[in-house]
């Protein structure tokens, strides 16, 4: 994309820490989130959900609900088009059940009424007759021959004959002579690791306001990471033309991948079409936990060979993931990331995507990678402890670098794993003394990052300030980053840039803020659009001076004559050119659109100290340090925020968060009281070290940083618990009862 030598290295604005432009709105309550959107004549929707894990829907009778005063419409699957296939069908089936309810909380009908209370009461009046069916929620149980069949024909070509119909995809890759490579090892470890499903836990529940006419023209305001995705998905599920549906994103109170798909949006649109009024739906927390996408759960067998000097000779893994009642568990990513940090001559990985009676999984921060890292990095640590090797030295010995062939195939370009390991080794945390009942764990992790379809426009205003229109919703401070990149590229103050996240009617297709892509891809497009504007500004100055545009350069926010024949003119600032642009050729805009693919992967290494109460199994995170490669940190405070956020979510996943299903297949903990995310007082201040190994694929060297930070915590914490207690926990979460039982079993 961008030649290395074209990359800027001396920055005026990049690397500074100005206030985020959306900050004041957010701290004063002025920012409008999903549930804050209102429309005249608006109705409120409520969803009827299955109380069964698996049941045939025999009959839905909405007559009592419709008879309630204030109820304007009821929709069921009959109000959606038929004939969909593939992922479009999966989406439709998930947002509104067809013949069967596939999990506890699956939507089976929806009601629109003149108030939220009436809608809720009406939902209770919808009579659904179910025939409960046997269910399965565990991945290993779902693969057994006697497991209930969730859906015949869901498997793709990759699944060999004879496997249970719940196995919908099989993946295999590898290289090298496994037997010979394991024979070279001095120690071989074989172990099974399990992780439970966790939810993204975004603080803002899903909310939307929908308006759809009988003419197929619609408007949708919603809380999402990607409104073009929402547009495409809703259009498919409802049979609309994509361009006739305009989707405007609200501010977003967290997403972590879980808001890159649809749940309530097409239901609100269908209700609106039927009622002829705008319809708003706001999910409760319980609905979020029961019926939106947590991540997959995993069961993984690892075999790992290591020499006495720490060289990894061979790695083998079987990865079984369930992603709910539909195909799509991130098995491939789990496999690809598990050993991505290491040069291993012989590797064999086999993976399965399995369906169960759970909600359809959705992306969650580095989807799949934390599970693979938990298995692989725990296994490495087990061998290090067994052979008395330093875990950072072993990682350095095997670390991938530029030119290494990755475990999953591609050869790495310039990457920064070694730099993070060296920085971790040098960090005072790594050599600090430990107290009684404390243990230290380290682990590394990787995420690919992503480029994706991107379209950015920029325009100069009459006063010389600049507006940037991006299509990637701002979750983690990206408007600040875009503004900094625009300011840098144009040589104008940060405060003179306004970055707007615009609706689907204002730009070409943008992928969501996912894959750690926004700062990389929208940032790259912002810089390119700014460069186009700089060129136009130079042209206007050249016209005025009567010289060739080639003889004008853009520097420090001004056009300047340059070169031997340019003549002697004073620098012409952007404000001067902008004030006259109507008379000198009209508006000045820049635009860039592409699917950039120079996103560089990001590696990270974490160090954590855990104290375990030996009498209760209770854990305390005593100290935590994140070291990660950011390529180039545009706004270091928000890079650090991403590092800390990834660690915080990983700590929750490792220690206390889990989806707990009863024998009835119903979710036991659909509230934050019992779905235990860490609270602020559970966490120490998480220390961060930003490593900068520039990404050759971005003009300023940016690598995405959002996701890598959640990959090392799971194993790092398990490794620390092993250090603190002498017992190895291979199943997450490491709750006090589990740790105590392990300590007691160890004597």
């Amino acid at each position: 994309m961008m030649a290395l030598d074209d990359r800027k290295t001396n920055f005026k604005y990049i690397g500074t820490r100005p206030d985020r432009p959306d900050g004041l709105d957010k701290v004063t309550g002025r920012a409008r989130y999903g549930a804050d959107i209102q429309a005249p004549g608006m109705l409120h929707g409520a969803i009827v959900r299955s109380p069964h894990a698996h049941a045939r829907i025999l009959k839905i009778d909405a007559s009592k609900a419709l008879a309630l005063k204030g109820v304007k419409a009821v929709v069921t699957r009959a109000d959606f088009p038929t004939g969909l296939t593939g992922e479009d069908w999966n989406l439709q089936e998930n947002v509104m059940a067809g013949e069967k309810a596939l999990y506890d909380g699956h939507a089976v009908a929806a009601v629109a009424a003149s108030s939220a209370l009436i809608a809720r009461d009406a939902a209770k009046l919808v009579e659904v007759e179910y025939e409960p069916l046997p269910h399965v929620t565990d991945v290993d149980a779902a693969m057994r021959p006697d497991a209930p069949v969730i859906r015949e024909g869901a498997a793709d070509y990759s699944v060999p004959e004879g496997m249970h119909p719940n196995v919908v995809r099989r993946i295999e890759f590898g290289r090298g002579d496994m037997d010979a490579a394991f024979a070279e090892a001095d120690e071989v470890l074989e172990a099974t690791y399990r992780t439970e499903a966790t939810h993204q836990g975004y603080i803002e529940p899903h909310a939307c306001l929908a308006q759809l006419g009988a003419d197929g023209k619609g408007e949708l305001w919603c809380c999402t990471q990607g409104h073009w995705f929402v547009r495409r998905m809703c259009a498919s599920v409802l049979g609309l033309d994509a361009s006739q549906l305009r989707v405007t994103p609200s501010e977003i109170g967290g997403g972590f991948g879980g808001k890159t798909t649809i749940f309530i949006d097409p239901v609100a649109l269908a209700l609106s079409r039927k009622a002829g009024r705008p319809v708003k739906i706001v999910m409760s927390r319980s609905e979020v936990l029961r019926a939106t996408g947590p991540t997959a759960s995993a069961s993984m067998d690892i075999k790992l060979g290591m020499k006495r000097d720490g060289t990894i000779t061979a790695a083998q893994g079987t990865f079984r993931l369930q992603g709910g009642a539909f195909p799509g568990a991130p098995t491939a990513e789990t496999m690809q990331c598990a050993f991505a940090c290491y040069e291993i001559p012989a590797i064999l990985e086999i993976g399965y995507d399995v369906i169960t009676n759970r909600p359809k999984q959705a992306a969650y921060r580095a989807p799949g990678a934390p599970m693979g890292a938990f298995a692989a990095e725990s296994a490495i640590d087990e061998l290090c402890r067994r052979m008395g090797l330093d875990p950072l030295e072993v990682r350095l010995k095997n670390a991938v670098k530029e030119g290494s062939k990755s475990s999953y195939g591609p050869t790495y370009p310039r990457i920064g794993l070694v730099e993070t390991l060296e920085a971790a080794k040098a960090h005072p945390h790594y050599s600090a003394p430990l107290g009684p009942n404390q243990g230290r764990g380290v682990a590394s992790g990787y995420w690919f990052n992503w480029g994706g379809e991107t379209s950015v426009s920029m325009a100069v205003s009459e006063d010389g300030t600049v507006q940037v229109s991006v299509g990637t919703p701002d979750i983690g401070g990206s408007r600040a980053s875009m503004s900094l990149m625009a300011a840098e590229a144009l040589g104008i103050p940060y405060e003179n840039v306004r970055c707007n996240v615009v609706d689907t009617g204002a730009l070409g297709v943008n992928e969501p803020t996912h894959g750690s892509r926004a700062t990389y891809a929208s940032g790259l497009a912002t810089i390119e659009a700014a460069r186009e504007i700089a060129g136009k500004l130079c042209q206007r100055a050249a016209d005025k001076w009567g010289i060739d545009a080639e003889a004008v350069i853009w520097e420090d926010g001004c056009a300047k004559p340059s070169g031997p024949n340019a003549g002697d003119f004073p620098p012409m600032p952007i404000a001067e050119i902008a004030a006259e642009m109507g008379q000198t050729g009209g508006p000045i805009s820049g635009h860039f659109e592409a699917t950039p693919n120079g996103h560089g992967g990001s590696f990270g290494t974490h160090i954590v100290d855990i104290e375990v109460d030996p009498e209760t199994g209770r854990t305390t995170v005593v100290r935590y340090t994140v070291v990660q490669d950011a390529g180039k940190a545009i706004h270091p405070a928000y890079v650090e925020g991403q590092f800390q956020g990834g660690a915080a979510q990983g700590i929750g996943w490792a220690l206390n968060e889990e989806y707990i299903y009863g024998t009835d297949g119903r979710l036991q903990n659909p509230v934050f009281l019992d779905y235990r995310v860490p609270v602020a007082s559970d966490l120490p201040m998480i220390d961060t070290v930003i490593v900068e190994v520039p990404n050759p694929g971005h003009p300023y060297g940016v690598r995405g940083v959002g996701e890598t930070g959640i990959t090392p915590p799971l194993p790092a914490i398990a490794n620390a618990v092993a250090g603190a207690t002498g017992v190895r926990l291979r199943q997450l979460p490491m709750t006090p009862p589990r740790i105590l039982a392990a300590i007691q079993a160890n004597g």
Binding site: E615, G617, Q668, L673, P678, D682, T735, P736, P737, L740
Partner: protein, 287 residues
């Protein structure tokens, strides 16, 4: 739903006695309103007692004890220096309920009458030997705290009966109490195990002790054997071991999403020792 704001407990009791359907008493509302929103209960009659004179007061009684009105929020207990000095264990139990915001509303009486086996303030009140005053169709009465809860979500009060206040006894000399709960996190959680100890010393020797446990049986329990294990001792290792054993033996918990039977039983014994040490030290510091 009918919403009532009686100006006396007698009036409140009459409304409750005459109410035909589901009745709930509203003080802080931190249980009732949440249950209402979560579709757990939809009362036909909601009786708000906050407008009754005196329900928001903390007063010292003639015998040196304390009377805590039924609508006194947790934060008022924590900010009451003299009460905190007398009964730190009772106050710290209540202070663990919910967040700062919840503390501005939630009450001791509500925490008791919600009937949760895991109610954080109840073991401390039982250990303290506290009582509640009740008005009802049969007139007023005073009963021990431990006789109020009878099962998860169930209390012993008859139809029309309403708790008007909590009565804490006089602290007396060389007394100390403490409460601790086990949660996997540091706050905003529900007790997996809770233990309260209230004792009195004569020099180094324990002369009286009451031990109560929560979240390990269908109701919070007074464990007389555990108290007996402490009396006459100087909190030596043998008495702590006996205490721990008595507490674990009294546990009758369930296996659920919050903890296993084995875990709860074991941790109750562990916590009992820790809480007893705190109460013992507090008694030593007291006048």
């Amino acid at each position: 739903m009918r919403y009532h704001t009686p100006s006396s407990f007698e009036e409140a009791s009459e409304i409750a006695a005459a109410a035909p359907g589901i009745t709930r008493i509203l003080a802080g509302g931190t249980d009732v309103l949440v249950q209402l929103r979560a579709d757990i209960v939809e009362p036909d009659d909601l009786i708000d007692i906050k407008r009754i004179s005196g329900t928001g007061d903390i007063t010292r009684s003639d015998d040196g004890g304390w009377v805590i009105g039924a609508a006194v929020p947790g934060v008022s207990l924590s900010e009451h220096a003299a009460l905190c000095a007398d009964w730190p264990g009772v106050v710290e139990g209540m202070a663990l309920v919910g967040s700062t915001q919840v503390q501005g509303r939630a009450t001791l009486t509500g925490n008791l009458c919600n009937g949760s086996p895991a109610a954080d303030s109840v073991p401390g009140m039982i250990a303290a030997g506290a009582e509640v005053s009740v008005v009802g169709p049969q007139g007023p009465r005073r009963i021990a705290i431990e006789s109020v809860p009878v099962g998860p979500g169930k209390i012993s009060l008859a139809k029309g009966e309403i708790v008007t206040a909590i009565h804490l006894p006089s602290r007396g000399a060389q007394g100390g109490d403490a409460y601790e709960r086990f949660i996997p996190r540091t706050e905003m959680d529900i007790a997996v195990v809770g233990v309260a100890v209230n004792l009195r010393r004569d020099g180094a020797t324990i002369t009286e002790a009451r031990v109560a446990i929560g979240a390990v049986a269908p109701t919070p329990l007074l464990v007389p054997e555990a108290g007996a294990a402490l009396v006459g001792s100087t909190l030596d290792d043998a008495s702590l071991a006996a205490l721990s054993e008595a507490v674990s033996a009294a546990c009758n918990p369930i296996d659920d999403k919050r903890g296993t039977i084995e875990f709860r039983t074991h941790v109750a014994g562990v916590l009992a020792k820790r809480v007893a040490r705190t109460a013992y030290d507090r008694a030593g510091d007291a006048k």
